[in-house]
Assembly symmetry: C2
């Protein structure tokens, strides 16, 4: 290095130092003071109120609050009416919307027709487990009452406890603010796949905290005895990962334990329901191979002035292509979106094949049963339907499966359709035997028609739900406020935005 | 720029200049003298002998000659016996190998059982058009006799004329050495898609010269009158691109003109045969979107000493990953190959579904006909089979379709299977009507079994071919040598490597 260069280097350091000094006295630095001072949000236990975290992490909190903007009710049963047939006999046939922002997690689960209209703490239909992914109150309650007690009882048991939507304490330790795993079922699931939990990198944690909820699960019936010696039955969330994370691995797991989420109301098939298997599908795609974590695309780094922080406005990268996808995909946003559109159209085409054929298979099987088909004639057919629908569901039930693993998604949809069609070929033979060779499955081209086939009584369900919302739900919120775990201000400006879509073809919109 | 930097810059220029001077006096520069002097390989007409070009372009010629190394006979009928059923009644059911190097183009077409065993210039089975992609003698003959005369008559008509394998004059002008389009059907095809031929870039030409042969085509029956007033019928190569380059566009084109390559021997379906649609599939993939040309991946730049040239050892980039794929895909070769393997396995799975179901559909349709099914009962079914097999064939008939457009390939295979399965569901109903509801398609799990279903008489075909090779083929070569268009030295070391695989399960290998 010659003399001139030395002088230049010296100047640079001097200027940088001055800038740093200036910065440390600025208002912006104040904002981060908490962080530098290593603030403790709560010394012991879980701080489930997101507003409490806001005091120390205002930028992260503000960005999290932006998930409020993702408030559109996007009725998937209306978009793809086949769904109501595919899920006949299961709660998803009643109500299924595209996901909204984390801010709405609690409202969505209470509003959903799937959770029904309990009238007290012990009425159903669903178990406590249905809260598990909705709130940082879940790890708080688990810590307070124990995991098995948490998983015992009906969903309504914790209405007055679980009141804050997915937020800070779902992923961060309330004392150290470090990323942490708050859900025991994720720990058990990862261990089953060979992950050593005492040796997890930060980059891995940036995926694992999301995988706590964005994974396929089932409820494992678990008998246990509480400290008073009372025999109880818990429905414990478990991830089906013992054989591995591929769709076929999980299918084998469920087959081996003869598990089904429900028996299909029309075809009598012992069904599996895939639910948000984002993590599993992500592991099968190129982004995971390249070492990316969920947060890399869903929580881009934001620069405000000289401050940098991770955006907690978690959303589809497609809603912020410039700050996410284009970091690696070096092309214009217009070109990028065009490529995405072309890819997506292929997925939509294959998904429609699978949905149509599987829905027809259910209806044809229903007709076969009605005509007197025997168990042994139907067994293989139902297995084809079970496996086909499982693959289709795994391909589409994730929030962004197609982007996480495009070619795996296309493969799964193709296999799903192959299995659905195979069932249908066999069904023609059974139907022929019972004199119905020309049976044609009824029309399911609208939500109303499809829900009628699934015998979903929307008006009744909506009326019951309204009653629940006017009574028990109000009581829950009141108790939570009294207990000091819910700050009603945190819900300010949140409309009771629902749109169930009634059977008479008119939406019941309340805004 | 300070003084020191100026001195350094000056030194760099001086050193570079010295290196350049040294280079211009080196032996390596001699090699390129021809190029610099703008050599004329042939002043007028087409120089079809590749060895003549070698005098001026020794490095390019040597690399081209390396295509001799790609000599493996890879029997696809053995690998996927379904093929013989899918192509029953068509020459491909007799013999179909994976492509070998350009060096073998003429040997492959004369050896193939598909071209049969003509005994003179007017015996079939195939038309002259079957030479069109095999040799630079094709543009030479076209220039000499005219396009329509070239396309008139049987394949055997030009056995003594078309003797040099795919080489220099297929893509280069013999006088200027510039890239040039020597096949009129490519020009017409491109114009139909809106390409202005007077405004083609060099980069486009690096694709178009390949597209001359690596495209889907059919033979258009064309009546014409020669200069002596004789009425003749030509079978002219035409690309089905009038509606566009998508598989559905081409399907519509063929449907609209009610074209079929052949009528399926078992199912009586009016079939389409896709043949090496590399260009079309390439246009549907990301590599084309990114502006790549065929030559970018199949003809990498080679540096020998200080000379750079384009490799004419045209092959799969997978045979030279380090110099091709990895130029853009920045990862290790091992990692790259692993990703490719994972992707390829998905394609194989979906291709097998489509092949199996389409083959079964043919056999089930055959049984329906045998039992007395009526035209109007079968019409829709045959249309499903036609469209399904077309899509499968377009997905796999290219040399590297899956790499050219992976997601389009998966989509096509999935649609192909959907259409094959749809045909099969309808076929159960027809078979039931004729008392054969439990009909199960016969086993086609080996080449021998599948060829038996297609009534291919391998021993007879091989014996006839051997006779042809011992007589007429020898005569062709003799005449070509006498005429001065074939240099037998150019075939030195080329074994008569064939492996037809006979029906008794033993290969008839001759090496």
């Amino acid at each position: 290095m010659d003399k001139n260069n030395l002088i230049l280097a010296g100047s640079t350091i001097a200027i940088a130092s001055m800038l740093l000094l200036a910065h440390s006295e600025s208002g912006q630095a104040e904002v981060k003071k908490g962080l530098t001072a290593n603030p403790v949000v709560k010394e012991k236990g879980v701080e489930s109120r997101n507003e409490e975290w806001a005091k120390y992490y205002p930028r992260e909190y503000d960005s999290w609050k932006n998930t409020k903007k993702n408030d559109k009710i996007d009725d998937q049963l209306k978009k793809n009416p086949q769904l109501a047939v595919l899920w006949a006999g299961y709660a998803f046939a009643k109500d299924y919307n595209a996901p909204r922002g984390h801010f709405y997690a609690v409202q969505d689960v209470t509003n959903s027709l799937r959770t029904g209209a309990p009238i007290d703490a012990v009425t159903g239909p669903l178990p406590t487990a249905c809260w598990s992914c909705k709130s940082p109150d879940v790890p708080r309650v688990m810590e307070e009452v124990g995991e098995l007690e948490y998983f015992t009882g009906k969903w309504a048991k914790y209405g007055q406890e679980i009141v804050n939507p997915i937020g800070c304490a779902d992923c961060h330790d309330s004392k150290t603010a470090e990323l942490t795993l708050t859900r025991p079922y994720l720990k058990k699931g990862l261990e089953a796949t060979g992950v050593k939990l005492d040796n997890v990198s930060t980059q891995e944690m940036r995926t694992f905290v999301c995988a706590q909820c964005h994974s396929e699960y089932y409820f494992k019936k678990t008998e246990w005895t509480d400290k008073d010696g009372t025999a109880k039955t818990a429905m414990v969330v478990k991830f089906p990962w013992d054989n591995g994370l591929s769709v076929e691995d999980m299918e084998k797991y469920y087959d081996d334990i003869a598990f089904s989420d429900w028996t299909h109301q029309i075809s009598k098939t012992p069904m599996l329901k895939a639910q948000h298997p984002d993590y599993e599908m992500f592991t099968k795609g190129i982004h995971a191979r390249r070492g990316l974590a969920c947060a890399d695309c869903h929580m881009p780094t934001i620069q405000e002035g000289s401050d940098k922080y991770s955006s907690h406005h978690i959303q589809s990268p497609l809603d912020d292509v410039a700050n996410t996808c284009l970091n690696c995909h070096q092309e214009t946003e217009a070109e990028f979106r065009e490529v995405v559109e072309i890819k997506l159209a292929k997925k939509e085409q294959l998904a429609k094949f699978a949905m149509d054929n599987l829905a027809k298979a259910h209806l044809e099987a229903g007709e076969a049963w009605r005509l007197g088909a025997k168990e042994e004639e139907m067994k293989d057919i139902l297995q084809d339907i079970r496996h086909g629908q499982w693959k289709w569901d795994m391909a589409v039930a994730g929030h962004g499966s197609f982007f996480h693993a495009p070619d795996e998604t296309l493969r799964l949809l193709s296999v799903a359709n192959e299995q659905g069609q195979t069932a249908r070929i066999k069904l023609v033979k059974v139907l022929a035997k019972y004199g119905a060779i020309d049976y044609v499955a009824p029309d399911f081209s609208t939500k109303e028609k499809a829900q009628a086939l699934a015998e979903v009584e929307m008006i009744k369900l909506i009326n019951e739900k309204d009653k629940f919302k006017g009574s028990l739900l109000q009581e829950w919120n009141k108790q939570a406020v009294e207990k000091g775990i819910l700050n009603l201000d945190s819900r300010k400006g949140m409309s009771d935005n629902t749109s169930y879509g009634t059977q008479d073809g008119k939406d019941k919109d309340k805004k």
